[in-house]
C-alpha cells in the first residue's frame, strides 16, 4: 500500500483477522526445559498493505520451556516455527499445526558450545596466524565439514556453535610442525592448549631418470599421517590435503623445514614428466630422492585388417600391468577416464600421471583399440621403459550381428530388430547396439535428426535400465537419407542404425536386458500413418573385471 504524499487519506480502515492460540515446549536433548529460547512464527503475509512485522511474531520460552502466542491468523495457510538459542542448534523437524493448536508441539534442541583454545610454540609463546581446522572425529577434509579459523595476536582461536561430539582439531603454523588433537566437545569445556613442536626437516631432491635435478616441480601433501602401517602413527586421525605445498629449486630440492615425525604422502608433479603420487616420506638425517620419468608417450596407426585403410574413428584405452613375480601379472581395468578418441587412422598418446598411483615401482602399460564395425585389438604389454614406442593395430572387420528381422508386408509396413555386439563385455569396454528397420516397398520414414520441415524425425531412445549399465559413446548413426523435392529427408528399404556404448566402470557382472524404443512415422506417397513407438529388447552379459 503506497500513496503519493499529497494523497494520504485522512481516514484509513485497518482490518484485524481472528487469530488462533498456538503453543509448544522447547527442551534440550535430555528433555529438560530450555528457557529464553526465541520462537519465531512464520506464516503467510499479504504481498501489499498492512502486515504483521517480523519482530511482532516472536515470543520467548518461559522457565518451563513453554511458549504461546495469539497473533497467527486462524486462516493461515501454513505455520512454521523457528527456534533459536545461543547454546543450541536449531531443530530441523517440522511440527504439524495441529500439535501447535493443542499445545503438544515439542521442539528438542541439540546443545552447541563455543570451542576455544590457544596455540603456543614449544617455548610457550603464543603463535598468531596459525590456521586451525575442525574436522569430524576421524579426519579433516577441507570443505564445509571442516570449518577453519586463524589464531589472533595472543594465539587464541574460537569455533562457535560446535555440537557435543568428538572432533579432530588440526593446527598448522609457519615454523612449527602441524598438530592433530582429538577433542571431545562437551559443555563447560576448558579452553584447549595446543603446543606446537618444531618438527624436523624433511629434505627431498627431485631428479630425472639421468639423475639431473628438476626445477619447478610442484610438491604437495595429500595426507598426513599416511595410513598404518606406513606411518606407525599414534595420531588420532588424518588430515587430507592440508595445503602444504612447495616448488623445487634449481637443484631440484625443497625442504619441509618443520615436518612432523610421522610419514606423510606427497605428490610430485611437473608438465612433461610422469607425476608420482602418494609417495611416503618422513624426516630423516639424509635427503630423500624422488625420480620423475618423462610423461608416457606413444603413437601409432590403426588400420582395417582387410583393406589396410586407416580406420576413420577409433578409441584407444590404456591400463596398467604389474608383474608380481612367480609369473603372476596384475592387469588393471579399462577405465573410462583413460580413453582417448582419434580419427584418420593415426594416434598419439601422452599420459602425465601413472594409471596406478602410489609408492610402488612404475607399472607397465597395455593399450586396447576399439572401432565401430571391428573387433577390438590389444597391444602387447609395453614396459615402462618403452616410452615413445610406435604401435600398429590392424582391426579385423566384424560382420554385423544377425538380427533375424522378417520381411515386412504391405499390411505390416515396418519390421524391426535389435542386437548388441559383442554379447559379453567387461566394464570399461564398448559395445555397439544395432537397430534394424525394414520397410515394405513404397513406404518410407524420416531421417534421424534433420528430417526436413515438420516431418517426424526417427528417434531411438535408450531406456533408463539400459543407461544404468551403458553410457552412449557416439551418436546414433544410420544410412544417408534421400533428399526429396518437398525438402523432406527420407529413409526407405532395409535400414541399420548403430550406436557405440561404453560399459560403465561400476557395472556389476551379470546378464542385463537392454530395452530400447524406436519412434518413427511411416508414410507412403499418399499419406502418413500416426507416429508409432516400437519397443525392442536385447541382452548383454557383463563379465567381471579380470582380463
Amino acid at each position: 500500500m503506497r500513496w503519493p504524499a499529497d494523497r494520504i487519506p485522512a481516514q484509513f480502515e485497518l482490518r484485524l483477522s481472528p487469530a488462533q492460540h498456538l503453543s509448544g515446549r522447547v527442551t534440550d536433548e535430555s528433555g529438560g526445559p530450555v528457557a529464553g529460547a526465541e520462537v519465531t512464527l512464520v506464516f503467510p503475509q499479504r504481498l501489499a498493505g498492512p502486515c504483521v512485522p517480523t519482530e511482532d511474531t516472536r515470543v520467548q520460552t518461559d522457565p518451563n520451556g513453554t511458549w504461546s502466542c495469539d497473533f497467527v491468523p486462524k486462516d493461515a495457510a501454513y505455520v512454521r516455527v523457528e527456534v533459536t538459542h545461543p547454546d543450541f542448534a536449531m531443530p530441523e523437524d517440522e511440527v504439524p499445526v495441529e500439535a501447535l493448536r493443542d499445545g503438544t508441539a515439542q521442539f528438542r534442541l541439540t546443545s552447541v558450545v563455543r570451542l576455544r583454545g590457544r596455540v603456543t610454540d614449544d617455548t610457550g609463546t603464543a603463535v598468531s596466524g596459525a590456521q586451525v581446522a575442525l574436522g569430524v572425529e576421524g579426519n579433516i577434509l577441507p570443505g564445509s565439514s571442516a570449518p577453519e579459523t586463524t589464531t589472533d595476536a595472543e594465539g587464541r582461536f574460537e569455533f562457535r556453535r560446535v555440537h557435543l561430539q568428538k572432533r579432530l582439531l588440526g593446527v598448522k603454523a609457519d615454523g612449527a610442525a602441524p598438530a592433530l588433537r582429538l577433542v571431545e566437545v562437551q559443555r563447560d569445556l576448558a579452553p584447549l592448549e595446543i603446543r606446537l613442536s618444531r618438527g624436523a626437516p624433511l629434505r627431498v631432491r627431485v631428479v630425472d631418470e639421468a639423475g639431473m635435478p628438476i626445477q619447478g616441480v610442484q610438491v604437495s601433501v595429500d595426507e598426513w599421517p599416511a595410513e598404518e602401517p606406513a606411518s606407525q602413527s599414534s595420531l588420532p586421525g588424518r588430515w587430507y590435503y592440508p595445503g602444504w605445498e612447495w616448488k623445487t629449486d634449481a637443484d631440484g630440492r625443497f625442504v619441509w623445514s618443520n615436518a612432523p615425525p610421522e610419514t606423510a604422502l606427497l605428490t610430485f608433479r611437473k608438465g612433461g614428466y610422469l607425476s608420482r603420487g602418494r609417495q611416503e616420506l618422513r624426516p630423516s638425517a639424509g635427503e630423500a630422492v624422488v625420480t620423475l620419468g618423462p610423461s608416457f608417450r606413444g603413437s601409432g596407426t590403426v588400420l582395417d585388417g582387410t583393406t589396410g585403410q586407416p580406420v576413420p574413428e577409433f578409441i584407444v584405452n590404456a591400463r596398467f600391468v604389474q608383474s608380481q613375480g612367480l609369473g603372476q601379472t596384475n592387469f588393471g581395468a579399462w577405465h573410462e577416464y583413460n580413453r582417448r578418441q582419434f580419427t584418420g587412422g593415426q594416434f598419439t598418446l601422452e599420459y602425465d600421471s601413472p594409471l596406478l598411483s602410489g609408492p610402488r615401482e612404475m607399472h607397465d602399460w597395455q593399450f586396447r583399440v576399439e572401432a565401430d564395425g571391428h573387433a577390438p585389438a590389444l597391444s602387447r604389454v609395453l614396459r615402462d621403459a618403452e616410452r615413445g614406442s610406435r604401435l600398429e593395430f590392424r582391426l579385423q572387420p566384424q560382420p554385423m550381428p544377425e538380427m533375424g528381422v522378417a520381411a515386412p508386408s504391405p499390411a505390416e509396413r515396418v519390421a524391426t530388430g535389435v542386437a548388441v555386439q559383442p554379447g559379453h563385455v567387461r566394464p570399461g569396454e564398448t559395445v555397439t547396439v544395432f537397430v534394424k528397420v525394414r520397410l515394405a516397398p513404397g513406404f518410407h520414414i524420416y531421417a534421424l535428426e534433420d528430417s526436413g520441415g515438420s516431418n517426424v524425425p526417427t528417434t531411438i531412445n535408450a531406456s533408463l535400465r539400459l543407461r544404468q549399465v551403458l553410457e552412449a559413446d557416439s551418436p546414433w548413426r544410420g544410412p544417408e537419407p534421400q533428399s526429396q523435392p518437398d525438402s523432406s529427408r527420407t529413409l526407405a528399404g532395409d535400414l541399420v542404425f548403430q550406436r557405440r556404448f561404453l560399459v560403465k566402470d561400476h557395472a556389476q557382472p551379470g546378464r542385463y536386458q537392454l530395452p530400447l524404443t524406436v519412434y518413427l512415422q511411416v508414410c507412403n506417397e499418399a499419406l502418413c500413418w500416426p507416429p508409432e513407438t516400437i519397443a525392442l529388447e536385447t541382452q548383454l552379459d557383463v563379465l567381471g573385471l579380470s582380463p
Binding site: 485522512a10 485497518l14 484485524l16 501489499a48 498492512p50 504483521v52 495469539d70
Partner: protein
C-alpha cells in the same frame, strides 16, 4: 518526502502537516464490523511511542507528532485477533 508506505501493521510516510490527525478505524476482518476494545500503538521512526484505545465504533485519531517524522508505524491489537 514524496510517498507514504503502508506496512507492518501500518507504516506511513507522512505527508500530513504536523498537528493533523490520521483517523484510523479498526474492523473485524471476518465480520467487517467495528472492533471495539482494540488498542492502537503508534511509533515514530525517532522512537516516540503512544498508545490509545479505540472507541465503540473502532475509531481512533492519531495526531501527527511534533517534528514531522518521516514515518509512523501503527499497530492495532485485540485479544483473539492477529495484529
Amino acid at each position: 518526502m514524496p510517498d507514504a508506505v503502508g506496512s507492518g501493521v501500518l507504516l506511513l510516510g507522512l505527508g500530513l502537516d504536523t498537528g493533523e490527525a490520521l483517523e484510523l478505524r479498526i474492523l473485524d476482518a471476518a465480520k467487517a464490523k467495528p472492533l471495539a476494545g482494540a488498542n492502537v500503538v503508534w511509533r515514530t521512526d525517532e522512537g516516540d511511542k503512544s498508545e490509545v484505545a479505540v472507541d465503540a465504533q473502532g475509531r481512533v485519531g492519531i495526531p501527527v507528532p511534533e517534528g514531522a517524522p518521516r514515518a509512523l508505524r501503527v499497530t492495532a491489537r485485540k485479544v483473539g485477533f492477529a495484529p
